[in-house]
Symmetry: C2
Subunit: 177 residues, 2 copies
């Protein structure tokens, strides 16, 4: 299979200034600090460009606790070794992420949204991430789930865009170098 068949993969995530994407129990209540009427910090525009998403089990469990499934009919793959029953058409996968990225590309996905620290780290480790957007929330949490773990190598980035919002959120977009 040609490498060109792999879909572009992007991260779009918020983190505290000290690099946490959730509290230790997965809670993201602290994102309320930057909630502003009519301001989604570019998420909807980003999400429109995405054909499929891949998330980890922790992210999935957090999302299941929301009032509504936020991903509509978008193709959604949850990485887990212990798949529950699908409730919103989501698929479950356990295995090599490079094979998954190639399969998604072969099946028509051109842009994949990768979410959750564990899955993001696996994609980074496999050299599969192309673009990273991180919104830095103006808070220090001191503990929690990290954006990355055990990548095993440095990933160099090129800053593409930066923007500060009235709430104090700073959105940084990078291309993987």
């Amino acid at each position: 299979m040609s490498p060109m068949s792999r879909a572009k993969s992007s991260v779009f995530i918020a983190e505290s200034l000290d690099g946490f994407i959730a509290r230790a129990d997965g809670a993201i209540d602290w994102l309320a600090l930057v909630e502003r009427e009519g301001e989604d910090y570019g998420f909807a525009a980003f999400f429109e460009t995405v054909d499929a998403m891949v998330m980890g089990r922790t992210t999935y469990n957090t999302v299941l606790g929301f009032d509504a499934w936020p991903y509509g009919a978008k193709r959604c793959v949850v990485l887990t070794h212990d798949p529950p029953s699908a409730r919103h058409g989501e698929e479950f996968y356990a295995g090599d992420v490079t094979a998954l990225a190639e399969r998604l590309g072969a099946e028509g996905a051109r842009h994949v949204y990768v979410d959750g620290g564990e899955v993001i780290s696996q994609f980074f480790a496999a050299g599969l991430i192309d673009e990273v957007t991180v919104s830095i929330i103006p808070v220090v949490l001191g503990d929690g789930l990290r954006l990355t773990r055990r990548i095993g190598r440095d990933v160099r980035l090129e800053l593409v865009q930066h923007r500060a919002f009235d709430s104090g959120l700073v959105r940084l977009t990078y291309r993987v170098a």
Copy 2:
């Protein structure tokens, strides 16, 4: 002692996009990614405003490995329970950081530079940090020493300044809310 006697305390540090301030062994070789002739990202200007600095033992050991002691005659306190012999006039301290901050203020310090993840976390936990400048380096490390640990509470920040440099470094300055 009046709380007004406490010196202002600031953090001025670089971190990877995923929130690490050093590799697991303390190495900061990855800062070379943003080294540019004649560009110190504001460090010298910041350092001039500082009367005293407080650092942890890991930071101290890293600095001792530099070709020259970088802090001149600036008052320097190293937090450690196992003090070695001073080589550059530095003092060693083990104990409550609030008492230390008050003592530094009482002895004339008006602006204290707090460095090293462990010490920064202790100062955050004690509510002693007033300003935080973080330079986000365009790299993902995946593992290392975190900016914070075990603070035990959220620290809310107000964005004061943000600036992107040609190297891709983004410098963010916050006031503690």
